[in-house]
């Protein structure tokens, strides 16, 4: 039962519960119009304490396509946060107006605090360099749709693995499925945090940390590219030195398997050459669309708006 639950961490839901969301997302993909009124009269609050384009648009589009409404702010300067209001107080107030809250925050763990003070579901839309569980729903739905499985995969993650919250979430979630192994491709300075590798080691999951993409790309079922994010660095010099280290181009793609897929949480800033976009293995824009469907399914489930209830409503069952 997902109604009323929070999503703060990609492992908050069991693989069975995730399947429930993905199955529902598949239904929406098949016939989106059928769900146009599923969340009529419900309100989603989007609290974005740091900039976002696609995640915020994706959530807002998802709610609007379900017939619901959206309130919120896209930068803290336009809210009472600028006056120094605490997360706890903001959430207690917003929860008076909204049925479900989506929060992005530059500080790690902020959505967990929000959830402690919220009577309505809180969804973590990215907290600092920590986690991004709805991107993970997007990623898993994409992989499931293309590969028809979430097991027995060799997943390569490339780029900024230290501050890349999408990677941390993806590793955490996919390491729960049997037979998956991971190749972590990054410069030494941007390796995944200790807590991530400690988790993999504790679970007995096979992984390797390497520095060159071209040496391992041929082994991969999935290549998950990430942007080296300027806002995660403490100084400009480090950013400039490392931002272009790992660029995927046609030459490297020639070394990859025919059925490997390239994913990216977007936006990209040069780490994937534009001539890759037409390669049938490039899935990053399709992935963005899957993200909206995954969020539609998630919002509906957390609000307890089941498709069954819709059918019953159509039949006049109260």
């Amino acid at each position: 039962m997902l109604k009323g639950r929070h999503l703060l961490d990609p492992t908050d839901f069991s693989p069975g519960e995730l399947d429930e969301i993905f199955d529902f997302a598949d239904q929406i993909i098949q016939s989106p119009a059928q769900f146009n009124h599923l969340c009529d009269s419900s309100i989603l609050a989007t609290l974005f304490y740091e900039p976002s384009t696609r995640t915020r648009f994706s959530f807002e589009a998802a709610m609007l396509r379900l017939g619901g409404n959206v309130v919120g702010f896209s930068e803290p300067s336009s809210s009472s946060v600028a006056k120094g209001e605490s997360v706890a107080d903001t959430i207690r107030t917003v929860a008076c107006y909204a049925d479900i809250i989506v929060m992005r925050h530059p500080k790690e763990g902020a959505p967990r605090i929000a959830s402690a003070y919220s009577p309505v579901p809180v969804i973590n839309a990215g907290d600092g360099g920590h986690l991004h569980p709805t991107q993970t729903l997007t990623d898993l739905l994409t992989i499931r749709s293309v590969k028809h499985r979430l097991t027995g995969l060799t997943v390569g993650c490339c780029g900024d693995l230290k501050f890349g919250r999408t990677v941390h979430s993806l590793l955490k979630a996919t390491s729960r499925y049997p037979g998956n192994r991971f190749v972590l491709i990054s410069p030494k300075e941007l390796r995944v945090p200790d807590y991530v590798t400690a988790d993999l080691t504790a679970k007995g999951i096979a992984y390797q940390e390497v520095e060159r993409l071209d040496e391992v790309i041929g082994d991969l079922d999935i290549l998950y590219m990430t942007r080296v994010q300027k806002e995660r660095f403490f100084n400009e010099d480090d950013y400039v030195r490392l931002k272009d280290v790992y660029i995927l181009n046609a030459e490297k793609m020639r070394l990859a398997r025919k059925d490997m897929i390239v994913m990216h949480p977007l936006p990209r800033v040069g780490e994937i050459a534009y001539d890759i976009d037409d390669d049938p293995r490039a899935y990053y824009f399709k992935q963005a669309k899957f993200g909206m469907y995954a969020r539609m399914a998630l919002i509906s489930k957390l609000l307890g708006k089941e498709p069954l209830a819709l059918d019953e409503r159509a039949r006049g069952v109260s």
Binding site: A88, K107, I113
Partner: protein
């Protein structure tokens, strides 16, 4: 050679890693004690080379798990009539609140001051705790 007399009734915290005695001293609030307390630093030790020792001439009641968070290898000797009647090895607690502080500058606890610092034990052998909010690992005795 420094001589500190043995105590009659009280507690001796022994085998403290050199340099950690002072932290334990303050953590236990011994700076405010109105009974005899001795903090011995850098005493010779066959096991550790150098060690700190705290002698407390009083049967104070304190949370021994807290000592484990500073140095899990300490030995606590309970003294009665100048004899050791019991030895206690403190165990790391499963969950600690507001004892360890999260060092991650990106953690929400660095800005929302009303939030308690909560850590849960993830690896007893390695003495590793994880911040409830940001997952930062804290290893006992490493700072």
């Amino acid at each position: 050679m420094l001589t500190i007399t043995s105590i009659r009734n009280g507690i001796v915290i022994d085998h403290i890693r050199a340099g950690f005695g002072i932290r334990m001293f303050y953590q236990l609030g011994l700076d405010k004690a109105d009974y005899s307390v001795a903090l011995i630093m850098n005493a010779a030790s066959t096991r550790l080379g150098r060690k700190d020792i705290i002698k407390i001439e009083n049967n104070v009641d304190f949370d021994v798990t807290m000592l484990a968070l500073i140095d899990p290898n300490v030995t606590i000797n309970i003294i009665e009539d100048e004899h050791i009647v019991r030895k206690v090895k403190p165990e790391l607690p499963e969950r600690v609140e507001d004892i360890i502080t999260c060092k991650n500058p990106r953690c929400i606890t660095s800005v929302e001051k009303y939030v308690p610092h909560v850590f849960t034990l993830v690896n007893r052998e390695l003495g590793q705790y994880r911040c409830q909010y940001c997952d930062e690992i804290y290893t006992v005795g490493q700072d």
